[in-house]
């Protein structure tokens, strides 16, 4: 696990990280099993919904509208929340968000905070920055708690400890909670976590959360969850700080009608989340009296100007694309070197990194399109992947290392060949000739040099036939065949 990082600036390229994970049979088994289970549940609940495609269209429309007028809706959200007694803070990047949170926590003399599961706080590495400043963050989401106790990293957007099975969780809990006799059935494990966490809920006066949606019309914050621990964090402390990407805003309260149908069905395979918390500002004498929302940009606003890049921000973090992805299925999330893994991570991460890091991620897909098919807000992930590949290729065009790379030389040469059919025909003949030394007695190629050797590492290649199709066609014409 030591090589696992969710910092895209430090992560190994996807193929290298994947190679390591492919050797981890236990993790792969856990990931395949967990994603199979969620997919089956999702499929059943999507099938029962006759208006599913209409809901997807409606969800996409809501998210597109929010993003096209993001400035307007964010300012409206700020006005409404402020009027309701909350405070809005704007953070341009991770560092600024960390400083804002730290200042707020120091203002209430906090030495520890309880946390609701939040990928956004993982994106800005908040826990580490708080620890460095003497504030201990306690994860209260069961999966996040598992990761925190195991010094592990999230491998999935909504089920961050999906790569662990219950036997592994038992070992961890037994060790960290000092419960040597703990059984490994789910009930016993959740009971242990409950006891461990209850004490924290009752003691700690400050909480940090993320947000699923921010409602511009009312200034409300919406959080959905399965365990109820999130609601504990939202109701018991005096101070709550929610950190949300600027793209999380939606125009109207009534938009939740659509999104709270598509999100749980897509995410956990449930008709409704067990806990849906929507709260608006501060109510004197009831619940948290200090409510702060930190709106995080961190590279997002740069994606707004073009339709192609903007659609990435439509994401409502359901992770259906991870669960259906045949690539994610093989590696799990750690191969992506980012808090955002799977197909959505492969397009979001490099863009948030301004295409400077995570350049291997847009290529970490077979472009099978399963992600687009399940996306509840219709993000055309394959289209964006292919677009980002062209960004990577184009930004490397001038570089010497790239000019000399086998791939680029090959691609340029092929492009030239395809522009002229006589050249193509010569290349076909040349290919047959060059291939000869590699063809085995059985008429198949078993080992090739260079990049093509990646193919023959696991697969054979049938030798080129003696006659191309066009040669056959032409010979047929000459022989007076039925060209008609």
């Amino acid at each position: 696990m030591s090589l696992v990082t969710i910092d895209p600036r430090k992560a190994a390229p996807f193929p290298r990280a994947a190679a390591e994970l492919l050797r981890d049979a236990q993790t792969r088994k856990n990931v395949a099993h967990a994603t199979d289970v969620i997919q089956r549940k999702r499929a059943a609940l999507v099938t029962e919904k006759e208006d599913w495609q209409a809901l997807r269209d409606a969800g996409a429309k809501i998210r597109r509208e929010a993003l096209v007028h993001l400035d307007t809706y964010l300012e409206q959200f700020e006005r409404q929340l402020t009027q309701a007694g909350g405070h809005v803070h704007w953070a341009a990047d991770a560092g600024e968000a960390q400083r804002i949170v730290l200042d707020l926590l120091r203002g209430v003399q906090a030495t520890e905070v309880i946390k609701i599961k939040s990928m956004t706080t993982a994106e800005i590495d908040l826990n580490r920055s708080l620890e460095a400043n003497g504030i201990h963050a306690i994860e209260t989401d069961l999966a996040e708690l598992i990761l925190q106790l195991g010094a592990d990293q999230p491998s999935h957007i909504i089920a961050p400890a999906l790569h662990k099975n219950r036997h592994q969780v038992r070992e961890l809990f037994a060790r960290e909670m000092k419960l040597p006799d703990l059984p490994d059935d789910p009930q016993a494990l959740t009971e242990a976590a409950r006891r461990y966490l209850r004490e924290k809920f009752l003691r700690v006066r400050t909480a940090i959360s993320g947000a699923n949606f921010l409602v511009a019309e009312t200034g409300s914050i919406c959080i959905v969850e399965s365990e109820g621990n999130g609601r504990m964090c939202l109701t018991l402390p005096d101070t709550v700080i929610a950190i949300a990407g600027i793209e999380k805003v939606i125009p109207r309260y009534s938009d939740l009608e659509v999104l709270l149908q598509t999100l749980p069905r897509s995410a956990t395979g449930e008709r409704m989340n067990p806990y849906n918390s929507i709260w608006t500002g501060v109510t004197p004498g009831d619940g948290p009296q200090n409510l702060h929302v930190v709106l995080l940009d961190n590279g997002r606003s740069e994606l707004l100007s073009h339709e192609m890049t903007r659609q990435t921000l439509q994401c409502i973090r359901c992770a259906a694309c991870l669960n259906t992805c045949p690539v994610y299925r093989q590696t799990g999330g750690h191969a992506y070197g980012s808090v955002y893994s799977g197909p959505i991570g492969a397009i979001l991460t490099p863009q948030l990194q301004r295409m400077e890091y995570a350049q291997s991620l847009p290529f970490a897909s077979s472009l099978c399109g399963a992600c687009y098919e399940v996306c509840p807000v219709k993000i055309n992930i394959p289209e964006v992947l292919v677009y980002l590949r062209s960004r990577v290729v184009d930004q490397n065009r001038g570089k010497l290392s790239s000019i000399l790379s086998q791939e680029r030389v090959g691609m340029k040469m092929m492009a030239r060949i395809f522009l002229n059919h006589q050249r193509f025909e010569s290349a076909q003949r040349m290919g047959r000739l060059l291939e000869k030394p590699f063809v085995g007695k059985d008429g198949w190629v078993h080992k090739l040099p260079g990049l093509a050797g990646q193919w023959t590492a696991a697969r054979d290649l049938e030798a080129m036939p003696a006659q191309t199709f066009r040669e056959w066609w032409q010979s047929r014409g000459k022989a007076g065949g039925s060209r008609q």
């Binding site: 492919l22 690539v327 039925s482």
Partner: protein, 252 residues
């Protein structure tokens, strides 16, 4: 009908038997085939690998060659997907209005092979017979981009003598993905191994599909470990029987 065949670059070079089978099926049904010799590649490999600039002239070339075709038949679902899904995008980006108009004009006449049979020619029985156990892999682009659904299966079910068995998770990618198989060879191998397990569990002699690129991948892995099972393009099955004989065992 006069049907223009776009064989695709890799079928032309590596899988001429598929092209011959397409010609055989369509001629048997009484249609005339055109094969413009100027054709080369649709640009999919370049486009999907990030070489958009190089793909654009290939797209323009394709459109100008087939501009006047009554119908274009392409025995490769991923190439059809490239043309249908991404030529309009390339045209938009190029701001070449004439190219854009030509793309929009041509697209309704571009068909994947099984689409041409079922949608355009309204056929499900093409008079084939094939006495083998066969399983069908739903190639991703055919499934999710062209929405072929059960069109290929309807054609296969009408083949006399065929023992068609369902492939478990037939809609799961085989891991080819063009240059993905080379750039991410390890993951690709793990994916094809799952596919191979599904194929083997059907006890089929042949795995078929509408796209030789997937089949090249599946067959390549099968040949290394289980050479008794082979892959064959759907056109070759549909061409079997009658005068043309059984394509199985036909050494190319």
């Amino acid at each position: 009908m006069r049907i223009s065949l776009f064989i695709t670059c890799y079928n032309d070079t590596l899988f001429p038997a598929t092209g011959k089978a397409v010609v055989s099926v369509l001629e048997r049904l009484g249609h005339q085939i055109d094969f413009p010799l100027e054709q080369t590649c649709c640009g999919q490999m370049h486009f999907n690998t990030g070489y958009r600039r190089e793909a654009l002239p290939l797209a323009k070339r394709f459109v100008s060659i087939f501009q006047d075709a009554e119908a274009v038949c392409i025995p490769s679902s991923s190439c059809v997907a490239m043309i249908r899904d991404y030529y309009p995008e390339l045209a938009r980006e190029s701001s070449d209005e004439r190219f854009m108009a030509n793309v929009n004009d041509l697209l309704p006449r571009v068909f994947e092979f099984t689409e041409l049979l079922t949608d355009r020619l309204q056929l499900e029985d093409v008079g084939a017979s094939f006495h083998h156990r066969v399983t069908y892999h739903a190639s991703c682009h055919g499934l999710r981009s062209l929405h072929l659904g059960d069109k290929p299966l309807r054609l296969l079910r009408n083949v006399a003598g065929i023992d068609l068995v369902e492939l478990e998770n037939s809609d799961r990618c085989c891991g080819f993905g063009g240059t993905f198989a080379v750039k991410n060879a390890g993951v690709s191998e793990a994916m094809v191994d799952e596919k191979i397990q599904s194929v083997l569990s059907t006890k089929a002699e042949i795995c078929t599909a509408c796209d030789n690129s997937c089949l090249m991948h599946i067959h390549g892995r099968l040949h290394r470990q289980h050479p008794e099972v082979r892959a064959m393009h759907i056109a070759e099955i549909l061409a079997s029987g009658g005068a043309s004989g059984d394509a199985f065992g036909d050494s190319r």
